[in-house]
Amino acid sequence: MSNDRGYYGEFGGAFIPEILVATFDELIRQFRKVKDDPSFWQTYSDLMSNYSCRPTPLTFAENLTRHFGGAKIYIKREDLNHTGAHKANNVMGQGLLVQRMGKTRVIAETGAGQHGVATATMAAKFGFECTIYMGEVDVKRQRPNVFWMEQMGATVIPVTDGTRILKDAINEAFRDWVTNMDNTHYVLGTACGPHPFPEMVSFFQSIIGKEARQQILELEGKLPTRVFACVGGGSNAMGLFSGFPDNSVECVGVEAAGYGLHTGQHASRLCSPDATVGVAQGYKTYFLQNDDGQMKETHSIAAGLDYIGVSPILSRMHQKGEARFESATDKEVIDAVKLTMKKEGIIPALESAHAFAGAFREAAELSSDDIIIINQSGRGDKDIFTIADAFGDPKWREFIKEKALDYK
């Protein structure tokens, strides 16, 4: 679907410094080899079933379906992956690739911390040295994930430059890579960045869509009407959407509207007029940037969606009308988490809850013959500190205060 330089229409490409050209050539060569080798997919899929609970279930959300009284709602349970998110699919795949390339060290950026934890886990399992770059702001809001990364042997480096969030962690990871590429692979966490990352990450995440398609056909004997996924960088959306290339299935990506699209404090690249095409972090896509081309600050309650760019593959789908993009505000997201917990006993991550919020808006208007699938890309219970804060739960606040006294 992409050409030799990783273009999807006008989007994508590889805007990399000269020093990394040889490293990318080697990465592309190895990736092509594994992609064309059916035994590699078998190895990968065996590893994922043995280590990460795949195939993940496709859960019928009976109570939510009754609540909205419209389409039948199914939830693809990527939260049940080892480490609690779809990120495991990508890192384990890249881990196998690192083994083949004979490299001994991995680095990664992380926003919410899910990708960092997943990478640290993979590094522990495969015996790689591991360094994780994480914006200082995110280190503060995601301490439990930092704790686990460090316990698994990774070095976590807080990034104090720029806006101190995900994009700055990506820049810093690139700075490490241009120095240490001889023994180091950069495990980019989403379907962004220079070619071949968008294609490669989507390839590993396509396991989501492959399973979901097979599962819904087994359960219902027909394809869904719509499938929903949240969109930060876009890897879980690419994973789900790739299983449903059919014209009859509408793919809906839900971006972070933050405080509301009109406030300017959001992270919606495709469904707001605020983003324009640009080139940064090695690829061409829609970016939230000013007229000079300087990147803007973004906002989302979900650290994993708090990002300036978006997968070039999704930009292309947006342009060609192959997917529809919506957004959900922080507030809608909190309401969606609450409703899903009460009705189904399932806790979506704040990131994933954007997809739920988007689907909930549309479920009632569909008929009982329609089916929708929501991708639950991650679990929320791991983010108890963030979610409890977002809920403003007074009892939790009391608990933290008392707990803090124990450490005095």
Partner: protein, 252 residues
């Protein structure tokens, strides 16, 4: 144009010196004074970096200068005005250094035409490999400006020849892996690399990344045509003030 200037200057000097500033750091006025100090001290070329919010190839020193300059409100338009000022006041070639998004958002063609208007002679765009830069290369060459491309220690012979065919003016050789501003051991181990660079291009060679003292420049004499000092002068301004720049450069 640049190539001729370099060759002519090399008749009277063993090696030329190119320095670098981030426009608007620590302020626009200070940038002007720094350029003045540099020119008075005998610098042969100056890179004017237009700050970018995501300077992926730059190390901590230049990265912070980029951020600070943007915080102070430096704009692309402001950088063009600054370029016009310095190029009309001082009789040495000035180049732009920046990241591709700055050109892309401005419009590559307009950016290049405005470079001509303000008297800038060439540009270094570290995140634009020649394969992605066809529009840029054509616009630059048709306006008689120099697209400066980069050789790195991992670049193959074949690729060096390709890059050389796309570039004009001179080639920028990274002395080592990594980002700007970290230490480089300039020793005979690098001889082979510079010989390889020389063999694969007829353009003059500039060497940068980690050049910071007289010994480094002495080593580069006879191997490179231009020594590039980047982060070190910014460090110097941070620590000792603008006045220290002139003496530092004369000492090289």
């Amino acid at each position: 144009m640049l190539k001729k200037y370099i060759q002519k200057s090399l008749k009277t000097k063993e090696i030329l010196l190119m320095t670098h500033i981030v426009v608007g750091y620590p302020s626009l006025d200070a940038s002007m004074k720094i350029v003045e100090e540099m020119v008075k001290a005998g610098v042969d070329l100056i890179e004017l970096q237009i700050p970018f919010s995501e300077p992926m190839a730059d190390g901590p020193v230049i990265l912070k200068a980029n951020q600070k300059s943007l915080e102070l409100g430096t704009t692309v338009k402001g950088c063009f005005e600054f370029a016009q000022n310095v190029s009309s006041r001082f009789d040495i070639p000035f180049l732009f250094m920046t990241y591709y998004n700055i050109l892309y958002k401005y419009g590559v063609q307009s950016f290049v035409e405005d470079m001509v208007k303000v008297g800038i002679k060439g540009a270094i765009i570290p995140d634009l490999p020649p394969e992605e830069g066809l529009e840029y290369e054509e616009a630059m060459k048709s306006n008689n400006l120099c697209p400066i491309y980069i050789f790195s220690p991992t670049t193959t012979d074949e690729r060096m020849r390709y890059i050389s065919s796309c570039g004009k003016g001179f080639i920028y050789c990274m002395a080592r892996k990594g980002v700007t501003g970290k230490t480089t051991q300039f020793s005979n181990e690098l001889d082979e690399y510079f010989e390889k660079c020389r063999k694969n291009t007829s353009l003059p060679l500039a060497v940068g990344f980690g050049v910071k003292e007289k010994a480094d420049i002495d080593y580069l004499k006879g191997k490179a045509d231009i020594a590039v000092i980047g982060s070190q002068t910014i460090r110097l301004v941070d620590e000792k003030g603008i006045e220290a720049v002139g003496d530092f450069i004369k000492g090289l």
